[in-house]
Amino acid sequence: MATPISPLFIPKPHLQLLLNELRHRGYSVVGPTVDQEAIVYGEIQSIEQLPQGWTDEQAPGHYRLKRRDDNAWFGFVVGPHSWKKYLFPPKTTLLTAEKTESGWQFIPRSADTTKFALLGVRACELAAMRIQDQVFLNGPYQDPLYRERREHLFVISVNCTQAASTCFCTSMKTGPRCENGFDLALTEIDTGFLCEVGSERGREVLDAFVSLARRASEGSSVASNSNNDCVTANEICFATPEQLKSAENARQQAVDQITRQMETSDLPGLLLSNLDHPRWKEVGERCLSCTNCTMVCPTCFCSSVTEVRDLNMDRVERERTWDSCFNPDFSYLGGSLVRNDTASRYRQWLTHKLDGWHAQFGTSGCVGCGRCITWCPVGIDITEEVAAIREETSP
């Protein structure tokens, strides 16, 4: 971690130069953009592709893309996509085997050299990445693709300045402030961004960006020391006390807007000691077993591995695809389905996520991003389910 210095103020249009610098360094920059009536994550070349002036309205089973009455660039929260699609892609070929004269030839997956720079990672998403690191990198076996992509990853996080009704990061102690796990962290204020540095790599990119900006804006000064001698709003300078205050207020606004809560003092323990609770059956009647919650969850990591052969039987690919504990077939074991009803599958998901993960990975599997609540077609709310199990439990 680099020595903390006071944040730089970056006028909004200059963000383009940061994108340019990252692209120049071989990064594919991915960030939020408006598509399919939502704010999704995709490759971006230009700041024009950011959701400027857009926001999202979220509630259980409900999401709407809305116009803002200002032109904020990051005035929304987390959407249907999560960054996990870049580190743990929905479909990966792990291995190929080809039949040759001398028998089967195994061709391992070639090393992945894609360098992603993620722009706009929220605090809860940083926490989700830490959890997936734990799952994919810190166990007895590492996932090679995840490792390759993770090592090259450049993370620009953005502090939330508002929250959705579905957010509950404060309960899970994951946000909304980005504390660590980023290379650069931005806080948006009216005129620009306050930028903090979180790593050596972040410092290096920021320095290169500042000299790029200096060259680009001939005649305007770019502060390189603590003397704040900026005269116009178009310059990169150390943030003024007023700007620091505005950023603080903006971040506080997100904290103030969080209304949803999940009590965690009795987690782990509560769920695993209530396996016969009637609530499981009740939620099992509402749940569609559709897998949406697990697909959108930034920490869910289940997959299936299938050997896919071509028709002539001379080539086999080992494919890994996202799968879910909500699929009946996912529990096919020893000739039968272990979890053959929706209630048992919902129970598996919740007990694993909030209870079993602690023993398995030393952390909760939930970061409080609220995606599973918003993107459940019938609006099942994880916080409400936990509360219901707690309330109706005899002490």
């Binding site: 598509d35 399919q36 009536e37 939502a38 999704v40 089973g61 409900h62 999401y63 709407r64 893309l65 249907p80 996509h81 699609k85 929905p90 479909k91 009647e285 509402r286 749940c287 569609l288 077993s289 559709c290 897998t291 949406n292 697909m295 959108v296 299938t306 896919v308 028709l311 002539n312 695809t321 996202w322 799968d323 879910s324 699929n327 009946p328 077939d329 009803d341 929706t342 918003t374 993107w375 459940c376 077609p377 019938v378 609006g379």
Partner: protein, 264 residues
């Protein structure tokens, strides 16, 4: 080398689209012929060889007395009987007749109704004989069909997932229409098979591949009603290619009982 399995294709009340998807599998057809002997396939060849067959693909539903008898003979002649498509698997779009008055329809549709002899219902093959495997879809996905044929020849399990269309939407990164636009979509209760095409092109899922495992239509429909979608809109959504699939049928009939939204 063991004998190649003998394959037969039979047509009942249907549009031929599912059989055609076997012929459409141009890239794979030669390889299939290496693996199976096509003994009876009227759509492809007039050389129709008699049974017994190792594998019978049955397309279409049962809508006449003659067909109700014929399917029994097909069954008797076939070791492994597989239905292909929505008609054979759940009665097809023509099962809409199950909710109408067949005589009235015959009168209004045909210029010479006296020549028409038909059953009052369109029913799935499984309502008449034992079915060993059901391949869903309107039409079926020919990649799945090819995989099953090869799997049968090789004695392995076919790769035909029974999960919801939603999983495919999420794999593709499609934003959910139910959540983001309030459009009713049958994806959460429909089996995968198409790769979630309709949601990727701005439409809700029409349920071509029939009910998924499980298909909680009751919960989904009650959510659609709470979004303000009317019975008049939801009943036709449930009553299309797989109208008579039990989970869809139950849900549409429940809606009719509930009546218009204003009361519910």
């Amino acid at each position: 080398m063991p004998r190649k399995p003998r394959l037969a294709v039979f047509k009942f009340a249907s549009c031929d689209g599912c059989q055609l998807s076997l012929l459409d599998a141009e890239d794979e057809l030669l390889a299939i012929c290496d693996r199976v002997e096509i003994a009876h396939f009227a759509e492809a060849s007039s050389d129709l060889q008699p049974g017994p067959y190792d594998v019978a693909l049955v397309e279409g539903s049962i809508t006449t007395h003659e067909d109700a008898e014929r399917i029994k003979r097909v069954r008797a002649d076939s070791k492994f009987l597989m239905t292909i498509g929505a008609c054979a698997t759940s009665g097809g779009i023509q099962s809409l007749r199950n909710w109408g008055q067949i005589d009235e329809w015959v009168q209004s549709v045909y210029p010479s109704p006296e020549f028409i002899r038909t059953l009052a219902t369109s029913t799935a093959i499984a309502d008449h004989v034992l079915v060993d495997f059901a391949l869903h879809g309107c039409p079926i996905n020919h990649h799945q069909l090819v995989d099953i044929l090869v799997a049968l020849a090789e004695g392995r399990n076919p790769r035909v997932p029974s999960h919801s269309v939603c999983l495919d939407c999420k794999h593709r990164g499609t934003v959910c229409h139910v959540v983001a636009r309030g459009i009713p979509c049958l994806g959460p209760v429909t089996q995968s098979g198409c790769g979630a095409i309709c949601p990727a092109y701005d439409r809700g899922c029409y349920g071509c591949f029939g009910p998924s495992q499980p298909a909680n239509t009751a919960s989904l429909v009650s959510q659609f009603r709470s979004h303000g979608h009317s019975t008049e809109k939801l009943v036709p959504l449930l009553r299309s290619f797989n109208a008579a699939a039990p989970e869809f049928q139950r849900a549409s009939e429940q809606l009719v009982i509930l009546g218009p939204n204003s009361e519910g």
